[in-house]
C-alpha cells in the first residue's frame, strides 16, 4: 500500500520535475520522463542490493523513516545504536510494520515478533572493567582455597645452597619465582658457599620474601662429588639455623637448579614428621650428540621413561623401599667436574625429595618423636651424610606423599657452565660496551681453551686410577706453567691463522 502511494508521489514528483524543467528545455521532456523511471529503477535496485547486504527489507525501513511519524523515543535511543546497520528500536515502532498480528497479551511488556539487535557503539572491553573482573576472580579463588584447600597452612621453610657462578642467576631466578608464587607463608634460607656476597643478596632481595642469607666459609669445589658433599654440609648448617631460631613450619630442600611445581607446595602441607616425594631425574648430558643418542638407545632398551627417585609403597601405603637412579649405564660418560661435558649423576637419594617438620630439629619440642637423632650428632665427625634418612633411627616411618610417590612434582637437574666462564658481575654491563669487535678477533675459539692447572691436576690423579677415553680435546699438557703458556699461545696462533686462512 505504501509502495503504491510512494509510486504515485514519485510520479507526481516527476511531473513537477517535468513541468519545472519544461520551461528550461522542452526537448528534454521525454528524456526527463525516462530519466525518472530510470532513477526509480536505479533506486529500487539499490534498495534491493542494500537489503541483500543487511538481510532485511531495506525499502520498508526507508519508507518507515521518511513517511511515518516517528516517535521521539526512536531519535533519543538512536544515540545508543549504530546508525543503520541491523538495529532499529524494538517495541515502539515495530508493531505497525513488523510484528505479527494480535500477539501482545494485556499488561505484558514483552512483545512477540521481530526485535532489533542492540549493539553499543564501541563493543570492546573497557580496561577498568577487565581489571575489576580480575579482582573478582582473584577473590573468588581465594575463597575457594579457604573453603576447599588446606585448612591450617603451615609456613614453608625452603633451604637453598648456592654459590656465585655464571648460571646462578638463571637457576636462582627460577626458584625465586616459584617461591614467590607459593600461596603460603614462606621463609627462605639461602646458604652461600664462599661467604655471603652482594651478588646473591641483590638477586634474592628482589623476591620480597623473608630471607636468611648465610655465608658458608668454604669455596665450592669443582668436582661434582665434592660439590655434593659440600652442599650437604651447607644444608646441615641451615638446619642449625632452624634449630637456633626455633622456626616453625615445614622444611623442604629447594636446590637452586631444580624445578618445582606448585602442587608440590600444596602436597607438603600434609606432612606430619618426615615425608618423601618422588623426584624426576633429568640427567642432563653435556650436549654432545653422541652422548644423547647412546643414552637414548640404552634407555630404550631398558625403560623409556624418565627415571624417578622416591618412595615405593606396599598396598597399605607404607614405605617399604626406595626407587633410585641407576647410575651404572652412565658411569662411563658421567661429568666429573662442574662444566664438564657428560651426564651429571645424582646421588642415591637426593635431599630435595625429603620434607621434614621443623620441630624435629628443635632442642625440646612437645611431641618430638623418639626415632629422630639430634642434629648435632649427625655430621659432626665430618663424614658424609648421604640423605636425610641418616637423621632417622627408623626409616620405615617416612610418610609417602603425592599418592605414594606416583605423582612427580619436582625435577632434579644440574646444568652448569664451565667453572672458569666469565660473566658480568650482577649481569650489569658497566661501563656500557662502546666498541663492538667482530667475533673473529675475540679470544673465544672453537676449540675449548686450556684449563687452569689445578683442574688438570685433579683430573690426572683420577685418570691414573681409571681408564678414560679422551674426548675432543685439542691440547693436553702436563706440568709446568711455562709450557702451558707456550702451548696456549701456540693454540691461539693456530686459531688466528686458521681464521685468516678462512678469509
Amino acid at each position: 500500500m505504501k509502495l503504491l502511494s510512494a509510486l504515485q508521489q514519485q510520479g507526481r514528483r516527476s511531473n513537477n520535475f517535468r513541468s519545472a524543467s519544461s520551461q528550461l528545455d522542452s526537448a528534454v521532456d521525454g528524456g526527463v520522463k525516462s530519466q525518472a523511471t530510470i532513477f526509480w529503477l536505479l533506486l529500487h535496485g539499490l534498495c534491493c542490493l542494500v537489503s541483500l547486504v543487511l538481510g532485511f527489507r531495506f525499502s520498508r525501513l526507508v519508507f518507515l523513516l521518511i513517511f511515518s511519524t516517528s516517535s521521539p523515543s526512536t531519535t533519543s535511543t538512536a544515540n545508543l545504536y549504530s546508525a543503520f546497520h541491523t538495529s532499529f528500536p524494538s517495541t515502539t515502532t515495530t508493531p505497525s510494520t513488523e510484528a505479527v498480528n494480535g500477539i501482545i497479551a494485556e499488561g505484558s511488556r514483552v512483545v512477540v515478533g521481530r526485535h532489533g539487535i542492540l549493539i553499543r557503539p564501541w563493543p570492546h572491553p573497557d580496561p577498568e572493567e577487565v581489571l575489576k573482573a580480575h579482582r573478582i576472580i582473584e577473590r573468588v579463588q581465594r575463597e575457594q582455597r579457604i573453603q576447599y584447600g588446606v585448612k591450617s597452612p603451615r609456613t614453608v621453610i625452603a633451604i637453598t645452597p648456592t654459590y656465585v657462578r655464571t648460571f646462578q642467576t638463571l637457576h636462582l631466578t627460577g626458584v625465586m619465582h616459584s617461591l614467590m608464587n607459593v600461596p603460603y607463608d614462606l621463609i627462605w634460607i639461602v646458604v652461600e658457599a664462599g661467604g655471603a656476597t652482594n651478588e646473591t643478596a641483590t638477586l634474592v632481595s628482589k623476591s620480597g620474601l623473608k630471607i636468611f642469607h648465610i655465608g658458608f666459609n668454604a669455596n665450592m669445589p669443582i668436582l661434582w662429588e665434592d660439590r655434593h658433599k659440600l652442599e650437604v654440609k651447607m644444608r646441615l648448617q641451615a638446619l642449625r639455623v632452624v634449630k637456633e631460631n626455633r622456626l616453625d613450619g615445614i622444611v623442604m630442600f629447594v636446590d637452586d637448579s631444580n624445578m618445582h611445581s606448585m602442587e608440590l607446595f600444596d602436597e607438603i602441607q600434609n606432612v606430619k614428621w618426615v615425608g618423601a616425594v618422588s623426584v624426576g631425574i633429568l640427567a642432563h648430558s653435556g650436549g654432545s650428540e653422541e652422548d644423547l643418542s647412546v643414552a637414548q638407545t640404552e634407555k630404550n632398551e631398558k625403560n623409556p621413561q624418565m627415571p624417578v627417585q622416591g618412595p615405593s609403597c606396599n598396598s597399605s601405603n607404607h614405605v617399604v623401599g626406595w626407587h633410585t637412579f641407576d647410575v651404572l649405564p652412565h658411569v662411563e660418560r658421567r661429568a666429573r667436574y662442574v662444566g664438564d661435558r657428560g651426564i651429571v649423576l645424582p646421588r642415591k637419594l637426593e635431599w630435595s625429595g625429603f620434607i621434614l617438620n621443623s620441630r624435629l630439629f628443635w632442642k625440646e619440642a612437645k611431641d618430638k618423636p623418639q626415632w629422630v637423632k639430634d642434629l648435632d650428632e649427625v655430621g659432626r665427625d665430618g663424614d658424609d651424610v648421604e640423605s636425610p634418612l641418616s637423621l632417622l633411627k627408623d626409616a620405615s616411618l617416612v610418610e609417602p606423599l603425592g599418592s605414594c610417590g606416583v605423582k612427580v612434582m619436582l625435577w632434579w637437574l644440574r646444568v652448569e657452565a664451565r667453572a672458569d666462564s666469565k660473566f658480568p658481575a650482577r649481569w650489569i654491563i658497566d661501563p656500557p660496551l662502546d666498541v663492538i669487535v667482530p667475533a673473529k678477533r675475540t679470544p673465544w675459539p672453537d676449540a675449548p681453551p686450556e684449563l687452569p692447572s689445578s683442574i688438570k691436576k685433579a683430573i690426572n690423579i683420577q685418570d691414573n686410577t681409571e681408564k678414560r677415553t679422551p674426548k675432543s680435546r685439542t691440547t693436553r699438557s702436563r706440568g709446568s706453567r711455562s709450557k702451558r703458556k707456550r702451548s696456549a699461545k701456540v693454540s691461539i696462533e693456530q686459531v688466528t691463522t686458521r681464521y685468516s686462512s678462512n678469509k
Partner: protein
C-alpha cells in the same frame, strides 16, 4: 553474617504469615520468597495423597517403546514423574481419599528424527485421555478437573505449540482450564501460564552431570561462560526473531571481550568448563526456559538470566533473586558493566547459596528418587495448594468447560 541471619528470620516470618493467609484463597499463585533450605526441605509424604489413573498403555508405555529417546531429552520429566508416583508413598489406590489425581499421558514423546517433539497430535491425545477418565471415573466430572494435575513440559506448556505466536493463538487447551498444570514454561502475563501452575526445571540427566564433576578446589578462572546458538539461521534467517535478538546482541557486543568465553562450539569439556566459571549466561531461546539454568545451579556457576518476565522453577520456594543475576534484554549491551559492578560480597553469597546441597537437589530428577529432589518439590507445591476450596466441587449436572471449544483439528479423535 548478621545480615544473613536476619534475612533468614525475615523470610521465615514471611512464609509463616503467607501460609496462614493462603487458606482463604483458591488457586492463586503465591510468590513466596522462601529462603533456600526452608520450604525446600519439607517432606510431602503424609501431607497429600495422589491417585494415578490407569490408562491403557497406548497413552504412555507404547509411545515410549516407539521412541526411547524420550527418556533422555529435556522433556523427560513427564515420564519420570509417572514412574516416581507409581512407587511413591504418597500414592493411594483408593481414589475416594485422594487429594490430587494424576493422568499419565506422554504428550511430548512424538519426536522428529532430530529429536524435537512435535506438538501437533498432543491436544488430541490429551483430549482423548480426558474423555477416557471422565467416562470411566466420576472424579473428573465432580470438579471438572480442578483437583487433577497434568505434566506438560513442552516449550509453551499446554498451548501445545513450539512457535510462540501460534501458541498464544491457541491458548491453553480448554479442557485444562481448571486443572493444575506442572510445566517448564513460565513467563509472567503470558497466555500459556495460568495462575496456580507449578513451574519445574527441565530434565537434565543427573548421572551424566555426576560423572563430570571436578574437585571443588579447582580455581574458577573463567569470568563468563556460554555455549550455544546466537543466530538460528535455519528458522530465523533474517535475525531478530530468535531470542528476541538478545543472544545476537550478546555475541555482537562481547565476541571480542576476553572475559566472555562464548561460542557456538560444543566441547566435550562443557560441564567441566562450567565448573571453572564464575558466571554462566542463561539467555532465552525460542522459549524463555533452558536446561542451562539447571546445569549452572548444579555446577555452582552463578546463572545470569536474560529473559524478560520469566518465571523460574519453584519460584515460591527458591529465592532466585538472591541466587542469580537478572539482566533485562535491553541492558544486554551493558552486561559487562553490570557483572563487574556486582559487589564481591554478593557474589560470594550467591556462590554459598548455590553450594547448598538442597538447592542442587531441588533441580534434579534422580532415579531412584532421593529426598528433596524435584519430584518432592512438585509434591510440596501441590501440597501447598491444599485443601481445595469447596467451590471447586460442582453440583452434579453443572458444566463449566466447553468440550467443543478450540480449533477444529483438536476435536478429531486420537
Amino acid at each position: 553474617m548478621k545480615k544473613w541471619v536476619s534475612a533468614m528470620l525475615f523470610y521465615f516470618a514471611f512464609c509463616v504469615r503467607i501460609e496462614a493467609f493462603k487458606f482463604h484463597k483458591t488457586q492463586q499463585t503465591e510468590r513466596i520468597s522462601g529462603s533456600a533450605g526452608d520450604v525446600l526441605e519439607d517432606d510431602p509424604v503424609g501431607r497429600l495423597k495422589v491417585f494415578v489413573y490407569e490408562l491403557p498403555s497406548k497413552y504412555n508405555k507404547k509411545i515410549l517403546q516407539k521412541d526411547p529417546r524420550c527418556l533422555t531429552h529435556m522433556f523427560a520429566a513427564e515420564i519420570y514423574m509417572h514412574r516416581f508416583l507409581l512407587s511413591s508413598p504418597v500414592r493411594t489406590l483408593n481414589p475416594e481419599e485422594a487429594d490430587w489425581f494424576y493422568t499419565p499421558v506422554y504428550t511430548t514423546c512424538d519426536l522428529t528424527p532430530n529429536g524435537l517433539p512435535l506438538p501437533f497430535k498432543s491436544p488430541r491425545m490429551m483430549r482423548s485421555a480426558i474423555q477416557l477418565i471422565s467416562s470411566n471415573w466420576p472424579y473428573w466430572n465432580r470438579t471438572e478437573g480442578a483437583d487433577h494435575f497434568f505434566i506438560v513440559p513442552h516449550d509453551f506448556g499446554a498451548c501445545f505449540h513450539y512457535q510462540e505466536e501460534k501458541a498464544i493463538e491457541r491458548g491453553i487447551l480448554t479442557l485444562l482450564q481448571r486443572a493444575t498444570l506442572v510445566q517448564t514454561f513460565g513467563q509472567r502475563n503470558h497466555v500459556c501460564l495460568k495462575d496456580g501452575s507449578i513451574t519445574i526445571p527441565p530434565y537434565a540427566p543427573p548421572q551424566k552431570m555426576q560423572t563430570h564433576l571436578i574437585p571443588p578446589s579447582t580455581p574458577r578462572s573463567i569470568f563468563v561462560y556460554f555455549r550455544g546458538l546466537f543466530y538460528d539461521v535455519g528458522n530465523d534467517p533474517e535475525g531478530g526473531y530468535y531470542a528476541r535478538g538478545a543472544r545476537a546482541s550478546v555475541w555482537e557486543n562481547f565476541k571480542n571481550n576476553p572475559l566472555f568465553d562464548i561460542s557456538t562450539e560444543h566441547p566435550t569439556t562443557y560441564y567441566e568448563d562450567m565448573q571453572r566459571a564464575v558466571f554462566c549466561l542463561c539467555p532465552l531461546g525460542w522459549a524463555p526456559w533452558s536446561p542451562r539454568l539447571v546445569e549452572a545451579v548444579i555446577f555452582g556457576c552463578i546463572p545470569v538470566i536474560i529473559a524478560d518476565d520469566i518465571v523460574l522453577p519453584f519460584a515460591d520456594a527458591i529465592p532466585w533473586e538472591d541466587i542469580g543475576v537478572f539482566v533485562a534484554e535491553k541492558d544486554v549491551p551493558k552486561l559487562d558493566t553490570i557483572l563487574t559492578s556486582i559487589p564481591i560480597e554478593e557474589i560470594l553469597r550467591k556462590q554459598r547459596l548455590l553450594a547448598n546441597p538442597s538447592m542442587k537437589q531441588a533441580m534434579l530428577f534422580p532415579q531412584p528418587d532421593q529426598s528433596r529432589d524435584a519430584f518432592h518439590q512438585i509434591l510440596n507445591g501441590l501440597a501447598r495448594k491444599l485443601p481445595h476450596d469447596t467451590s471447586v466441587y460442582l453440583k452434579p449436572g453443572n458444566k463449566i468447560l466447553n468440550w467443543t471449544a478450540g480449533p477444529v483439528g483438536d476435536l478429531k479423535p486420537w
